[in-house]
Amino acid sequence: MLEIRIDRKCYPDRGGRPHVALSGLNLAVQRGEFVCVVGPSGCGKSTLLNIVGGLDRELDGRVTMNGAFPEDVGFMFQEPRLMPWMSVLDNVLLVAREGVSEGGSGAVAPEGAAERQRERAIALLQAMELEDVLDAFPARLSGGMMRRVALARAFINEPELLLMDEPFVSLDSPTANRLREMLVAQWQRCGASVLFVTHDLREALALADRVCFLSAAPGRVVLDLAVELPRPRDADAQAVDRLYQALLARHPELLGGLARSVETKGAAQ
């Protein structure tokens, strides 16, 4: 189980004055649970993920996963962040660790391990429908394909914890839906705990077991909502839409700013 307790996290803003990004934030993610964190922009969502991912270690608080800081982590960023000088396959293999396998047969020759990693990476990329571009460089790929490579990279080690920072933002909605399906399929296969940050409430409702709403900065959890829709779901499906409308009716003050930003985004597309 992942437990996050952030008493206070601040960093200097552009003027050099301390800006309190998160304060009094408590959040727990059960093993294998999919939790979405939703909040207005600037509420410290990315800061939260950077802390849990170990990219930012200066804080008052504690992050533990089964008693220790989470190290077995997959991270998907807002941009694909692939190494442009590496092929698709090499990008996935770059982060592949030894000793992640279904068999777990202990002592294997290093060549054997490398070969198995390679097979695993290829299988994963095939599941992402990328088998034709294994040797291509990222610059040749479309935005959606780059995200799929980044998704494969996040799953290559079958991590205990998967951190996702608005990974499907700025994609057209069919592409984003396709990627969400792939994400859910991989998550169900390997059973990682997922912490998924987004400002899009529909996306959160389509993906999560639980949605946590953050307040404006300094961010803390103001509503913790279990989503009990059956899977598979779809961001445009009626059930998601009904829940979305019901939430807006029940918590207008909470979601006002959020809904507006989502609405204008939808209109622009």
Binding site: G53, G54, F77, E79, R81, M83, W85, L94, A139
Partner: protein, 285 residues
């Protein structure tokens, strides 16, 4: 400031938005980066340019006194003579050895300092004035001082050459280190890559265009300085031999050695550096 010193020019190829590697000096890359041109036509143009050069030389030799400007065939015959007598290969090998050692030392030390100064601001602030000094000391001064302080030996000679080249390597590599993308380094940290893997597979590849630029401009600078060093304080090598020819007013000899050495440098550039660069930067579509 530093950008101007390396004569940084934006190459006309599509780049990743964030990195701006300086192009190598135009004189080092005759059409080397031209995109979209057919290689066959390029080859013919280069051949025509060579022919025109030889023709002009021949014309000039016919017009001038043959002692001050011998014609191409005379020089070619001299190259053959000196090669057969093994005197040219001997001197050439000695000089090339010095070039290689000085080049390797300058690239290694310059790259280390460049990376460190690009990474740590305080180090950069501390060494910046030294760097400006190093960039502006005339080559002749370092050569003379090295010989005076360390004696007339090979190490002093190589040291003098390296000292001349190191500052320009530092400036170029520092520029690259500053342009390294922190977002990609964050990927390495998020996936808990080891320091070694991060350095070799995430950090260093971002510096490759800058290292290549430093290498290509470095090669041409270093072999010019090595000749001066040899002329001033060594008793073998192309520079020494040129001085001997100068004493005897042997223009044919001077041209023969110059051409032989220039040919070697061109071969290194075309068969070593350019293929290497193409290999390392092939991902730039």
């Amino acid at each position: 400031m530093s950008g101007k010193r390396t004569a940084a020019v934006q190459p006309p190829v599509p780049m990743m938005a964030r990195s701006h590697p300086p192009a190598t000096h135009a004189a080092n890359s005759p059409g080397g980066r031209g995109a979209g041109r057919s290689p066959g036509r390029d080859g013919w143009l280069r051949l025509a340019s060579l022919a025109a050069f030889v023709l002009l030389w021949q014309l000039g030799a016919m017009l001038a006194d043959s002692r001050t400007l011998p014609d191409p065939l005379t020089v070619l015959a001299r190259i053959v003579d000196e090669t057969v007598s093994l005197s040219l290969p001997g001197h050439l090998a000695v000089t090339l050895g010095r070039v290689v050692v000085a080049f390797a030392a300058a690239m290694l030390i310059g790259a280390l300092f460049g990376m460190a100064m690009g990474r740590w601001r305080s180090l950069d602030a501390f060494f910046d004035a030294w760097l400006v000094l190093g960039l502006n000391i005339p080559a002749l001064v370092t050569i003379i001082l090295c010989y005076v302080w360390f004696g007339l030996n090979d190490w002093a000679a190589i040291l003098a050459v390296a000292i001349n080249k190191i500052p320009t390597v530092i400036v170029t590599v520092r520029e690259g280190a500053r342009a390294v993308d922190p977002k990609l380094l964050d990927v390495a940290r998020a996936y808990r890559l080891s320091r070694r893997t991060t350095f070799v597979r995430v950090y260093l590849p971002q510096l490759v265009p800058y290292l290549m630029a430093a290498a290509r401009s470095g090669l041409s600078l270093i072999w010019k300085i090595v000749l001066v060093v040899e002329l001033l304080g060594r008793s073998e090598g192309v520079g020494f031999q040129l001085n001997v020819f100068f004493q005897f007013f042997d223009i044919t000899g001077i041209l023969a050695y110059t051409l032989a050495f220039a040919a070697v440098v061109l071969v290194v550039e075309a068969w070593l550096l350019r293929p290497l660069e193409r290999r390392l930067t092939g991902w730039r579509v």
